[in-house]
């Protein structure tokens, strides 16, 4: 079936069976491989994307469910010049990226949190990334990166 939706701010149209997951549409039909496939059953968070601003597991979304809606993947998160944005740079600076497989989902989980809570506690950050598994870092550096970004964004808002 034909599925029209907004992806990273641009209109897209794909042809896929109703049973296709959003994850497979992103990776196979649209070639956006930043969204990773992990467990496939909604437990690891590697395939996290934003659907109408909410963090979801794209492996559990049927492709036609996004028809007429707005999807943001990791490819849609970038700085003004096209490179890493402040959160992505903080991941690098804090050593929050090791193998990198969880990173796209972690960054989107971080962005989803900061959009709704600009001043999260470390506990709230941990809760916000609880659905994203990381087997390398031990999470501390990821929490550090999100916390540092929250602090810098608040400071920036304060100066603007």
């Amino acid at each position: 079936m034909k599925i029209d939706f907004t992806l990273n701010g641009a209109s897209v149209s794909v042809e896929a069976p109703a049973s296709t997951s959003l994850l497979n549409v992103l990776r196979d039909n649209l070639g956006l491989t930043g969204t990773k496939q992990g467990c496939g059953i909604g437990e690891c968070g590697a395939c996290s994307v934003l659907l109408d601003g909410r963090l979801v597991n794209s492996c559990l979304v049927l492709a036609p469910q996004v028809g007429g809606r707005e999807v943001v993947t990791i490819e849609g998160v970038r700085g003004l010049e096209g490179g890493a944005n402040d959160l992505q740079q903080a991941f690098i600076d804090c050593g929050a990226v090791q193998c990198g497989y969880c990173t796209p989902g972690m960054v989107l989980a971080g962005e989803a949190l900061l959009a709704s809570n600009p001043q999260p506690s470390r506990q709230q950050i941990r809760e916000a990334i609880a659905g994203n598994l990381c087997r390398c870092t031990g999470y501390q550096q990821i929490v550090d990166a999100i916390e540092a970004t929250a602090r810098r964004r608040r400071a920036k808002v304060g100066h603007d």
Binding site: P17, S19, G42, N57, C59, P64, Q65, G131
Partner: protein, 294 residues
């Protein structure tokens, strides 16, 4: 072979029309956290999925007189973030907060959790504790069941084929009521509940138990309040011994329903401990916020 068809009605009438078209095996799709996995395992599970997740009336959370009505397609996130739910039924907000992780809470729905009717479903003990009613619409009419009546066994409910669970409603607990939801899992997030307890209660002016309701999850295939334990508390001054006695009655009733199973060695003491903890939180927590009354 042709795989299933996907349709997205705008309202409940439209959904019922799709669900009841003769000769087409249709299934409703709400949060899709379970259905997506079932459909992947068997793309021929049904001929058509009817996506009810974007029907506005199924997301409504509102107060009507002394009751709160929650649309069945409200997601766990929508329920737990709702101020009306937080004020009138903290235990339901707490239960929804402990489901899966953010991603699952943003997708999974209260109605889906109930219709799936897993013994470990986190929302069920909370809804049973609230004496919530489930409103079901079908092609030939509509009716209410209590949530505990609605659940027959895991994956089996009284919702008829072609019917749709559209909303829940509960009477707002009286002023001075406190409620709590406790969960035991192997880890904090994304944990299937090993055991849950929901409790709600209120003391009278003399400090005696005026009202108490206790329900548990992952304890038995059906969901009922533990009336014998509740009765043992009414009119008494709350003490640790009283909680222990009530907790023992709850565990006895669980074993009466399920028999002694492989997990009973764990569940019996764990359930007793959770019930004691829940009762202490309901009746003793100094300074804990009181629920807003009706």
């Amino acid at each position: 072979m042709v795989e299933f068809q996907y349709v997205r009605p705008n309202n409940v009438d439209g959904a019922l029309a799709w669900l009841n078209e003769p000769g087409v095996k249709s299934r409703p799709l709400a949060g899709s956290t379970d259905m997506a996995i079932l459909l992947r395992a068997d793309p021929h599970l049904c001929d058509r999925v009817v996506d009810i997740s974007l029907i506005p009336e199924l997301h409504r959370i509102e107060r009507r007189d002394d009751q709160v009505i929650i649309g069945a397609a409200a997601t766990f996130s929508e329920v737990l973030e709702n101020p009306l739910v937080q004020q009138t039924a903290p235990l339901l907000a707490q239960a929804c907060r402990q489901v899966g992780a953010v991603q699952i809470r943003n997708m999974g729905t209260l109605g889906g959790n109930v219709c799936n009717a897993a013994a470990c479903a986190d929302s069920l003990p909370a809804l049973v504790c609230l004496d919530a009613l489930a409103h079901v619409r079908a092609a030939d009419g509509e009716r209410d069941w209590s949530v505990s009546e609605l659940i027959l066994s895991p994956n089996h409910t009284l919702v008829p084929p072609g019917g749709l669970l559209v909303s829940f409603r509960y009477r707002i607990p009286l002023p001075g009521s406190r409620s709590v939801f406790l969960k035991l899992g192997r880890r904090n997030a994304l944990a299937i509940s090993r055991l849950t307890v929901a409790a709600l209660g209120r003391l009278d002016e003399q400090g005696r138990v005026a009202e108490v309701r206790i329900a548990a999850g992952a304890a038995s295939p059906r969901f009922n309040r533990f009336k014998a334990a509740e009765d043992s508390l009414i009119g008494r001054l709350p003490t640790a011994e009283l909680y222990q006695d009530a907790a023992h009655r709850v565990a006895e009733e669980m074993i009466h329903i399920t028999g002694r199973r492989w997990s009973t060695e764990f569940k019996e003491p764990a359930l007793e401990a959770l019930v004691c903890r829940a009762l202490a939180l309901v009746f003793e927590t100094p300074g804990s916020e009181l629920q807003e009354g009706a």
